[in-house]
């Protein structure tokens, strides 16, 4: 090996200085060891190399790039030889930022995939390969005592969410969770969440239907609509409350809310509406009285009130 570059650090903060030295050892006999060592950053020659002959006869040049503000570049150590520039060695320089503290960590229990899905804001671009890991542990009280650790959850590349499968969860016990971000320049840890998976369950919305007219039941009054709904099947074991909102399809009126709907009863007569008007109806539900997230609003059901 004729030339060899060694770096103060291969990765630095963007804008920080980098110092490199290149030594040309003697066994490059065919080299005129007096000639000047040149430095090239990418394709540009870099002035400012300080060259000296070391006691053991090797030549060494040292250069400092005061403010390295490329996120990535190649530094070459070169020498003139038989009137051409010869590259003897090359080193990769990288610069970026240590990871910011991941924030806005939130989780919800998904009963379809039967997993706890957590998402977070990764913070600004670091320009460096940065690994995010969702860490968690089972805990009795308020997550101050860490009992057994749960397997690290590693998100797919570039993703800021991760799902912990059912078999690693105790659905009705507290667990502590946080996100760790790590790259060559440092590590940062998000604030810790302490939650009980089922207390962050997010249900799918119920399904709405119009109530089929039947001989036994008188048709709805003018200005009234009858509807029925079914809770999302995988959540039938969860006690929940629901709320309804409605809005005339035309015009600017905003949504009107009807809440709470009587639990356990899956049909309702909505009155006080304009006659001969088509309304959009939507419903959502949440686990109740035990804690949970509201489901999204259901797709709209369109119903028209009778003429006066």
């Amino acid at each position: 090996e004729c030339g060899h570059i060694s770096l103060s650090a291969p990765i630095v903060r963007l804008g920080d200085p980098i110092t490199a030295s290149c030594t040309i050892n003697q066994n490059c006999s065919h080299l005129d060891l007096e000639s000047q060592i040149l430095w090239r950053l990418g394709a540009e020659l870099q002035p400012g190399g300080r060259q000296q002959r070391l006691p053991d006869g090797t030549q060494e040049s040292t250069i400092t790039l005061p403010h390295f503000n490329h996120t990535q570049a190649f530094l070459s150590c070169c020498l003139h030889w038989s009137n051409s520039l010869q590259i003897l060695d090359q080193a990769e320089l990288r610069a970026g930022y240590p990871p910011a503290t991941p924030h806005n960590l939130s989780c919800f229990m998904n009963l379809t995939t039967n997993s706890l899905t957590c998402q977070w804001e990764p913070g600004p671009e670091t320009h460096l390969p940065t690994n995010f890991t969702l860490k968690s542990f089972k805990s009795r009280g308020d997550c101050r005592t860490q009992e057994d650790f749960i397997l690290d959850c590693v998100p797919e590349a570039g993703q800021s969410h991760c799902s912990i499968p059912r078999k690693h969860l105790l659905l009705y016990q507290n667990m502590g969770l946080w996100v760790q971000a790590e790259n060559a320049l440092g590590t940062s840890i998000s604030p810790q969440l302490c939650l009980n998976p089922m207390d962050v369950v997010k249900l799918e919305p119920p399904t709405l239907w119009t109530l089929d007219p039947s001989p036994e039941v008188a048709p709805p009054q003018p200005g009234c609509l009858r509807l029925r709904w079914e809770l999302w099947k995988p959540s039938l074991y969860v006690e929940q409350k629901c709320e309804l909102r409605h809005q005339p399809q035309r015009g600017e009126a905003s949504w009107a809310l009807v809440a709470p709907l009587p639990p356990g009863n899956f049909q309702y007569e909505l009155c006080g509406l304009l006659p001969a008007t088509t309304y959009a109806l939507q419903m959502r539900c949440t686990r109740w009285p035990l804690p949970g997230h509201w489901s999204n609003w259901s797709p709209s059901l369109e119903l028209r009130t009778a003429e006066r």
């Binding site: 009705y172 089922m198 035990l290």
Partner: protein, 174 residues
């Protein structure tokens, strides 16, 4: 001392237990329905003889009936029963590739419920020093025995949970 409805158990604990019972009953019903549809094993009464020869036990809830409800004894029996069924469900591993996910979910939910009960006993200072250990569980040596065992264990578990549900609702009355 028999307990009236307004027992010392926190309402959130009782609501969580009721939800967990309903979840396990749903899981169990799915497993029973698929054992019937796929293998024509629809009636536990047809497998009583096999159950005897395999030695499949049932868990008692004798200190739970409302007329003589005894909190420590009842919670302890509830936990031991769940612990027993968790072990029996584990012994059914390898029941069939199609049923394995359903069996896993059922077993995880039973284990979760056992943990909920145990931690409440600890919070009330009612928990014995040592956690119970699994006794000898039956060994199922053929695919048929695992399927038949699945029918019997699930049916015993459903009866156990029906009684537990009635007790918990009684305790949860305001």
């Amino acid at each position: 001392t028999p307990l009236g409805p307004a027992s010392s158990l926190p309402q959130s604990f009782l609501l969580k237990c009721l939800e967990q019972v309903r979840k396990i009953q749903t899981d169990g019903a799915v497993l029973q329905e698929r054992l019937c549809a796929t293998y024509s094993l629809c009636h536990p009464e047809e497998l009583v003889l096999l159950g005897h020869s395999l030695g499949i036990p049932k868990a008692p809830l004798s200190s739970c009936p409302s007329q003589a409800l005894q909190l420590t004894g009842c919670l302890s029996q509830l936990h031991s029963g769940l612990f027993l069924y968790q072990g029996l469900l584990q012994a059914l591993a390898g029941i069939s590739p199609e049923l394995a996910p359903t069996l896993d979910t059922l077993q995880l939910d039973v284990a979760d419920f056992a943990t909920t009960i145990w931690q409440q006993m600890e919070d009330l200072g009612l928990a014995p020093a040592m956690r119970p250990t699994q006794g000898t569980t039956p060994t199922f040596i053929s695919a048929f025995q695992r399927r038949a065992g699945g029918v019997l264990v699930t049916s015993h578990l459903q009866s156990f949970l029906e009684l537990a549900y009635r007790v918990l609702r009684y305790l949860a009355q305001p």
